[in-house]
Homo-oligomer: 341 residues x 2
DNA sequence: TAAAAAAATACAATCGATTGCGCAAATATT
DNA sequence: AATATTTGCGCAATCGATTGTATTTTTTTA
């Protein structure tokens, strides 16, 4: 960028006043007379003055920027969270620096470092699958960074957290499947070290128990989160000796894979095999049959996250107790799990 | 962020040397003895020194940050472009500041302002549908901002451009439909003021002409880009007097809408109605039938964009002629447009 | 051994905005 | 009219890193 940028010094010189006056005038400080303030505002506008954020940040020790670390931006859930965060943050003049970890621990550490160098005022993070420990986060905390976690969180760390009631979402879904008459319900799960998958599985188990159904370990498949894995898993379930009559998947992608596999094998959904996913990806309602899923209240999560950050930021009392806010999921019943008419 | 950050001055004091030496040592300046450089590096590492990017940017007039303005991050095309950009940029230590215009002109202007305040070293932009003029971009240029456009570009502005050969993509697709025996091919288009839709339509028209087919104005529908509009448009085409036997859509979303509408009406695809979209959204290959589409080479576009930026940035010769790089599309023929066996 | 050359480091200004403190002018108070 | 307030503004330091120009130290050369 060329250096033809106007500074407050330029404005000061043109008006024959000092740069401190210009600074105060621009910020609307009442110690400066209205006449001067207007003169400054006019000239600034006329000359196209843009404050140098770096200089201001350096001096004030605040960047008015928040960093966001997420596994992937092209997941419906995360892009919605981003939307929610920006909606709230932008109103207060904050910017969002988005980083993708690509589910890799190393990249997550790299992102963290980048954001720390940038001296962002806060960091929002949803952990990568690859992050099996939180040393890097602890490191951050010990430096005094304002860290906030959402969705995929470390439940031990003393930080603010916004999470979905994954247990509840899973519980309701499985209960719904049972109501529809399904009795042998399989489950596609994710890595145990990630809270959301752990909790969804807990919800699944609890719902089975409360319904008087038996838990069959062969029906619980770990690490089945993408379409390919879902496809394979479904095929092997259908070919196995414990054939399920429904699948509750922790991921819409693997639920879709299962649907495609069932279709391939001539197994009808929802008749012979009920299917339900999780996350309410847009594609779920477009397939035939549309796939039952759980909406994660993603926009709300983003907004809540940002609002909590802003609240704490304005309060100044840094040492306050960390909050954990739990949002409610919403079960979206679609044809793929509707057997009764 | 708390102020317990270590600075080069702290390191200098601890080592009993000057901060300028520390600065040079950290940057590996050979004027500093190896012994000192190592001592500095060690202490910096030990104390967890993180350079203050703001201070450095302010002094050097370079932020090592590039701004990106796109309509939406959750479009497959754009998130891939982001991936490509980051892959190249991160290697050179640059960061990417992502802004969404939400297809709104006002937001685009707002984003531009934000990025200018941040003094980013360059701005990559793909224009919003709502932006019917480029005054805001001209404004930017006159301030000396290094602006680069991609995909949805202003073809008049003196800036670097990376675009897809939309004409070619459309031409090939329509030619393919003709080869498959389709004769009355409809077209879903987008706003005329956007280059990509204009060029796709041109490709469509040219292909019809070269195939000796007549252009029927009733078969060209403007502003049919999302699923709902595609659905409606297809219904009305099927109910009209000029019923097409194929649809070439400028958007995968409206192509999907058309597919769903055809299915609803009992019109078989590809038998009675061939369908082809544009953008190679992931869902296109998952439907039954999978939808023919045109891949936009999105990752490559991002990489090219970033690489060109870096090249020009290192060359220093700011006034060089703007480039326009045209990438080739790739037609992905799938079942939705395959009538011959 | 003294002078010259080279190597290693220090000094101080700078980037642009902010802000505590102080000074001067305008207004109010006695 | 003299003093006390208030109002409006300028001075200068500061944030942390960078860099042109000394200055000091070490090494080389005559």
């Amino acid at each position: 960028m060329k250096k033809n940028n106007i500074t407050i010094h330029d404005i000061a010189r043109m008006l024959g006043i000092s740069s401190s006056t210009v600074s105060r005038a621009l910020s609307g400080n009442p110690r400066i007379s209205l006449k001067t303030r207007e003169a400054v505002a006019n000239l600034a506008h006329e000359k196209g003055y843009h404050p140098n954020v770096m200089a201001s940040s350096l001096r004030r020790g605040k960047t008015k920027t928040v960093g966001l670390i997420i596994p992937r931006i092209n997941r419906h859930f995360f892009s919605n969270v981003i939307g929610g965060i920006e909606e709230v943050l932008n109103l207060s003049g904050y910017n969002l620096m988005i980083c993708q970890s690509d589910e890799s621990h190393e990249k997550e550490i790299e992102n963290l470092k980048t954001l720390m160098n940038l001296r962002v005022d806060g960091i929002f993070i949803s952990m990568a699958t690859g992050s099996t420990n939180s040393e890097h986060l602890k490191n951050c905390l010990s430096r005094g960074v304002r860290l906030m976690m959402f969705d995929r969180v470390d439940e031990e760390l003393p930080v603010d957290r916004i999470v979905l009631d994954d247990f509840e979402g899973a519980y309701q879904t499985v209960k719904h499947l049972v109501e529809q008459g399904y009795r042998k319900i399989a489950h596609f799960s994710g890595p145990e070290h990630i809270n959301v998958y752990r909790n969804r599985k807990r919800g699944y188990l609890e719902a089975l128990k409360d319904s008087g159904l038996e838990v069959t370990s062969g029906l619980i498949l770990q690490d089945v989160l993408d379409r390919e894995k879902g496809y394979e898993a479904c095929l092997s379930l259908l070919a196995g000796k414990d054939v399920p009559d429904a699948i509750f998947s922790s991921s819409d992608f693997s639920a879709l894979g299962a649907l495609l596999a069932a279709k391939k094998k001539g197994v009808s959904t929802p008749g012979d095999l009920g299917i339900a996913g999780f996350a309410n990806e847009p594609f779920t309602e477009l397939f035939d049959p549309p796939i039952t899923s759980v909406d994660q209240n993603s926009i709300e999560m983003g907004k809540t996250l940002a609002q909590l950050f802003l609240d704490k930021e304005s309060e100044e009392r840094v040492g306050s107790e960390p909050y954990t806010i739990v949002l409610k999921p919403r079960l979206l019943i679609r044809k793929s799990s509707l057997r009764k008419t």
